[in-house]
């Protein structure tokens, strides 16, 4: 064995560069590149999302309540060695000598924020070097406040009883969207000044937050100590927030995983064909070594060393490429990822090596056995044919080991199950098609001896080789077509989420008496007829289930924006129950399905609200799925007209304005009481995300495409030696070059066409499963992609096949025969 290992080591590079192992080498490189680029990317994205999520919270873990939080939690956090900060947020008027503005006051301790960055600049735009809170008696304000109230640095403003000096302008701060006051401009004050302000009274709307950060273990131990939280305190964790982040990233990650899985499978197919050719050609070498005294362990050692070196070298090469590709993907995803990413962990490296080892094992196991058990007598018999039928069990073991590994790797048994089923089904169908083709062609008498006929005869004569080629072509094409369809539909579906007429402004605080004036103004100035939606500020008090004792307590007592309307909004889809039974008579409510699920609601439950000074009950009549990307006013709770019509309300609308800045400046001057929120930055961010994610998807798809082309080439070249020899013989006995080309053309055309038709038919089946089960998209066959794939597949197989015989056609038959 040791001598075999040394011999394998000495001969490695000459064997690799001689060509037989090159396709195997590149197949593994592609598999490792694919899995590691996605692995590196996923690894870093996950860290990035955690960081972004922590930034959104300003901490790793937050306790939030609308009433004062018991200091005992602070003691527990100290016991768990956690860092600690505190914020108190409320709405108050900021008053200057001339004007005032409703502002969100965020009073913070000096350790704020625990995560993310706070950026405060002075009048010259230079960052002020402060800890997280302004000194007592000073305040930081957002630019919007300074502009609205004409405030400069060192000017004085007052909040309640307290006068405060403007120390700086807030450019950025974390936990921006952590409270109900997100729409109002923010001012940050020192928490020590709150009492003196005297604005927090009984019944004031205040959000108290206690922020914690620390190591994972310390956070876990703190969380364990919080098991029984009072119902008014909500626990928020970065990890929960991260799951809500970046749907584009989440969708692209699914695609990346799918593409990566397909690349590995196609690489395995390519590797199988490469190994088959390698083993066929290596049988002479191995038999000769046996004649010259090589033992079974020697041959085994030789093979193991070569394959180990292939795994190592191809993995290193693949990892370098994977890491580079990940960099490319990250640069295209910059629109989505805004934070400097941490370095990746070692996990993708380990996965890369393991993938390479499994690909090599799955493809070479049967051949290692055959080669090490080769009888030396083959040399005298000139018998170098490999019969795999006796090694069927090893193939099965290799097949299931490979898919077992992929199941563990992708942690998605369902997906792997569907892929295995598709593989078995398609292989079996292609086998039957191949058998049928050979049977039909064998019935035809080819008498006129044209090149086309010769090609058809060759298909029959090659028998199992022809069937194998149909199977390999078909499987490679199947995965490529499915991925091409997935890529196209995914990118299209992202594009559809932001249509041209997506609103870019929200207008709210609109009173009924203003509706007509605003409507007329917008129609005259911009040709817009706004659709006003009633907005009712309410509170969900409790829920109950008739004739049942379900406890909803810990989910109740929450702020709720309500509306009422007759019809279901365009951007909503009814998923359970029915829309109003009698809108003007029956008091009902339709609830967002995600909120309903989190509250454990069922259709028929009773909800009690308070709004406009009165309390009322409504029956849950339906659940809705909300398309939030529509940027239209959307509500968790929609009341039936019977329930909502009489409640005091203001109105909200969303509009799309061209040349928005000019018009909105005029609008705000004309209607100073109306609040306008510009959505353009958010929309631009979303558009950027979509185009970034689409581009990243293209790169990954390209990798799978290369693997597919490699598999097709490997398959075409798998019986090239035999084809070359036969070409030389028929050329020697008088066949013209044109005839040989026509023969190859007809052979590859038929094989390509049959495999392409089968692949296209089955790709629609597999695509529909993947769309429905994994991407949550509705599948409708993309005829352009399917048609184009069909033509390209036939074209590629046809031309690659014809090119593969070119060399032997132009070489002297004598030389070819002598060399073979």
């Amino acid at each position: 064995m040791r001598r075999g290992l040394i011999y394998g080591l000495k001969k490695f590079w000459s064997e690799v560069f001689s060509g037989d192992l090159l396709i195997l080498f590149f197949s593994i490189v592609l598999a490792v590149t694919s899995i590691s680029s996605v692995g590196f990317l996923g690894d870093r994205l996950q860290s990035s999302m955690q960081m972004q999520a922590s930034t959104m919270l300003g901490a790793d873990l937050v306790l939030r309540s609308t009433s004062q939080i018991d200091p005992e939690f602070l003691a527990k956090a100290k016991a768990s060695n956690l860092n600690y900060a505190e914020t108190t947020t409320f709405l108050s008027m900021v008053i200057t000598e001339d004007d005032n503005l409703l502002t969100s006051i965020k009073a913070v301790t000096e350790s704020y924020p625990l995560r993310g960055k706070l950026k405060v600049v002075n009048a010259n735009g230079i960052q002020i070097q402060h800890s997280g809170a302004p000194p007592s008696g000073k305040i930081w304000i957002e630019k919007k406040i300074s502009e609205s109230l004409g405030l400069n640095q060192l000017d004085t403003l007052s909040i309640g009883n307290k006068n405060l000096i403007v120390e700086g302008i807030i450019e950025d701060y974390p936990d921006r969207n952590s409270s109900f006051v997100g729409f109002y401009p923010t001012a940050i004050a020192n928490i020590a000044d709150v009492e003196e302000m005297g604005v927090i009274q009984t019944g004031s709307r205040v959000v108290y937050r206690k922020l914690f950060s620390g190591t994972k273990n310390n956070l876990n131990s703190f969380e364990d100590s919080l098991k029984e939280l009072p119902s008014d305190i909500r626990l928020q964790k970065a990890i929960d927030v991260s799951s809500d982040l970046g749907e584009d990233i989440a969708n692209s990650t699914i695609f990346f995983n799918l593409a990566s899985l397909f690349t590995i499978i196609i690489s395995v197919i390519a590797a199988m064909m490469a190994v088959r050719r390698y083993a066929n050609r290596n049988l002479l070498h191995t038999s000769l070594m046996k004649v010259f005294g090589a033992s079974k362990p020697f041959i085994f050692g030789h093979q193991i060393m070569q394959l180990t070196l292939i795994v190592i070298s191809a993995s290193i090469f693949g990892l370098i490429l994977g890491y580079s590709l990940q960099h490319l993907l990250l640069s295209t995803l910059q629109g989505i990822i805004i934070i400097d990413l941490p370095s990746p962990s070692l996990r993708p490296v380990i996965i890369g090596f393991t993938t390479a080892a499994f690909v090599v094992f799955a493809t070479t196991a049967p051949y290692i056995k055959i080669l090490s058990e080769t009888e030396p007598i083959r040399i005298l018999r000139n018998d170098f044919a490999i019969r795999l039928s006796s090694n069927f069990i090893i193939y099965l073991v290799a097949f299931f080991t490979m898919f077992g590994f992929l199941g563990v790797l992708f942690q998605d048994i369902k997906l792997i199950f569907y892929i295995v089923m598709a593989l078995i089904l398609v292989t079996f169908t292609l086998y039957l098609i191949g058998k049928l083709l050979i049977y039909v062609l064998s019935l035809i008498k080819f008498s006129n001896g044209t090149g086309w006929n010769l090609g058809l005869k060759n298909i029959v004569q090659r028998g199992n080789d022809s069937i194998l080629q149909i199977i390999i072509f078909g499987l490679s094409l199947l995965f490529l077509v499915v991925l091409a369809e997935t890529r196209t539909d995914l990118v299209d579906s992202w594009g559809e989420t932001l249509e041209e007429d997506t609103p870019n402004y929200f207008l709210f605080n609109i009173q009924e008496y203003n509706l007509n004036t605003i409507s007329d103004y917008l129609e005259d100035e911009a040709g817009i007829i706004p659709d006003f939606t009633p907005l009712i500020r309410g509170r969900l008090l409790s829920a109950s289930r008739p004739e049942s004792d379900v406890n909803f307590d810990n989910l109740m007592d929450r702020e709720a924006n309500l509306t009422w309307r007759y019809d279901i909004p365009q951007s909503n889809t009814l998923v359970d129950g029915t829309w109003w039974t009698n809108p003007d008579k029956v008091a009902e409510v339709s609830v967002d399905q995600e909120i309903a699920a989190s509250m454990n609601l069922e259709v028929g439950d009773e909800l009690n609200f308070s709004a406009g000074g009165k309390t009322f009950s409504v029956t849950v009549s339906s659940f809705r799925e909300i398309e939030w990307q529509s940027f239209s006013p959307n509500f968790f709770f929609i009341l039936s007209p019977a329930a909502g019509r009489e409640l005091p309300n203001s109105y909200i609308t969303s509009i799309k304005i061209e040349d928005s800045e000019k018009l909105m400046n005029k609008f705000i001057t004309r209607f100073p009481t109306i609040s306008a929120v510009n959505l353009e930055a958010i929309i631009d961010q979303a558009k950027k995300s979509i185009s970034s994610a689409s581009l990243a998807v293209q790169y990954i798809f390209l990798l799978t495409l290369i693997a597919g082309i490699l598999a097709l080439i490997a398959s075409i070249y798998s019986n090239r030696d035999q084809r070359t020899k036969e070409t030389a013989i028929i050329h020697a006995i008088g066949a013209s070059r044109a005839m040989i080309f026509k023969s190859a053309a007809s052979e590859f055309f038929i094989l390509g066409m049959l495999s392409a038709i089968t692949a296209i038919i089955f790709s629609t089946l597999l695509s529909s499963i993947i769309f429905y089960q994994f991407l949550d998209l509705i599948y409708s066959p993309n005829l352009i992609i399917l048609g184009l794939s069909f033509l390209l597949a036939i074209g590629f197989i046809f031309f690659a096949g014809v090119i593969s015989v070119r060399k032997s056609v132009y070489a002297s038959p004598m030389i070819t025969l002598r060399d073979s």
Partner: protein
């Protein structure tokens, strides 16, 4: 005294006979006893060689001749331990190889046996020098390159070291194959139709080379051929017909 003389004579005759037998045994490099080889074929059980007994003395080249299908190559494979007989025993270089497993037989072949084939069987991806080094590399010989260069020099191809098989003529390929077969200084050299794929001129040259090397490296040549002229150069010629020695 008579008795003594008689005893002495008997003893001496016995001793002489024993010594002679020992000497013969010592000189025997290959012994086949009752060798029969049968294989299954679509037509039923087929006997390829039948009840063959044969001995080969060290240094005495022998040849097996006969028409195609007479069982020459099968017999050669059995002699060299490349195949096992259905019945009978083979003693090669003092070891009864018919009782040994494939790896043990491979060990004997690697150390003391050389082969030349009709189809040359050079590795197309290796240079002439690498091809000749192959048997020594399998043995783990640290001087494999020097020895391979020497062997190529012996067959007159030192100027072709870096050539691949496809760059050599038929005669040159067989010379490389011969260099490969003698590189480990084998005690016995099996050649299966070594001139079967060559023209007359190359054939004569190869046969001269084989017999001259046989003398230089003191190996024993076992030649399978249907070239009677070539066979005639051996000290003993066995003719096979339908699996039996005539």
């Amino acid at each position: 005294m008579d008795c003594f003389d008689e005893f002495t004579d008997k003893e001496s005759v016995s001793r002489i006979l024993k010594n002679k037998a020992k000497e013969i045994l010592k000189n025997l490099i290959l012994e086949l006893k009752n060798i029969t080889k049968e294989v299954n074929s679509p037509e039923g059980l087929l006997t390829i060689v039948k009840d063959i007994n044969l001995t080969v003395e060290q240094g005495k080249p022998i040849s097996l001749v006969g028409p195609s299908g007479s069982g020459k190559t099968t017999l050669l494979a059995i002699m060299a331990g490349l195949d096992l007989p259905t019945l009978g025993t083979v003693n090669l270089l003092g070891s009864e190889i018919t009782t040994l497993d494939e790896d043990k037989r491979a060990q004997i072949r690697g150390q003391d046996v050389g082969f030349v084939f009709q189809s040359f069987h050079l590795m197309p991806r290796l240079t002439a020098l690498d091809n000749v080094m192959l048997p020594l590399e399998i043995l783990g010989d640290p001087h494999s390159m020097d020895k391979a260069q020497e062997a190529l020099e012996q067959v007159g191809l030192s100027n072709r070291e870096k050539h691949f098989a496809a760059q050599l003529s038929g005669g040159e390929k067989q010379r490389v194959a011969i260099a490969r077969s003698i590189v480990n200084k084998p005690k016995i050299l099996f050649a299966d139709e070594p001139t079967g794929n060559l023209d007359k001129k190359s054939s004569d040259s190869i046969s001269d080379l084989l017999f001259s090397l046989n003398e230089i490296i003191q190996t024993t040549l076992v030649l399978v051929t249907h070239d009677l002229f070539l066979a005639g150069k051996c000290k003993e010629v066995y003719e096979l017909s339908e699996g039996q020695i005539l």
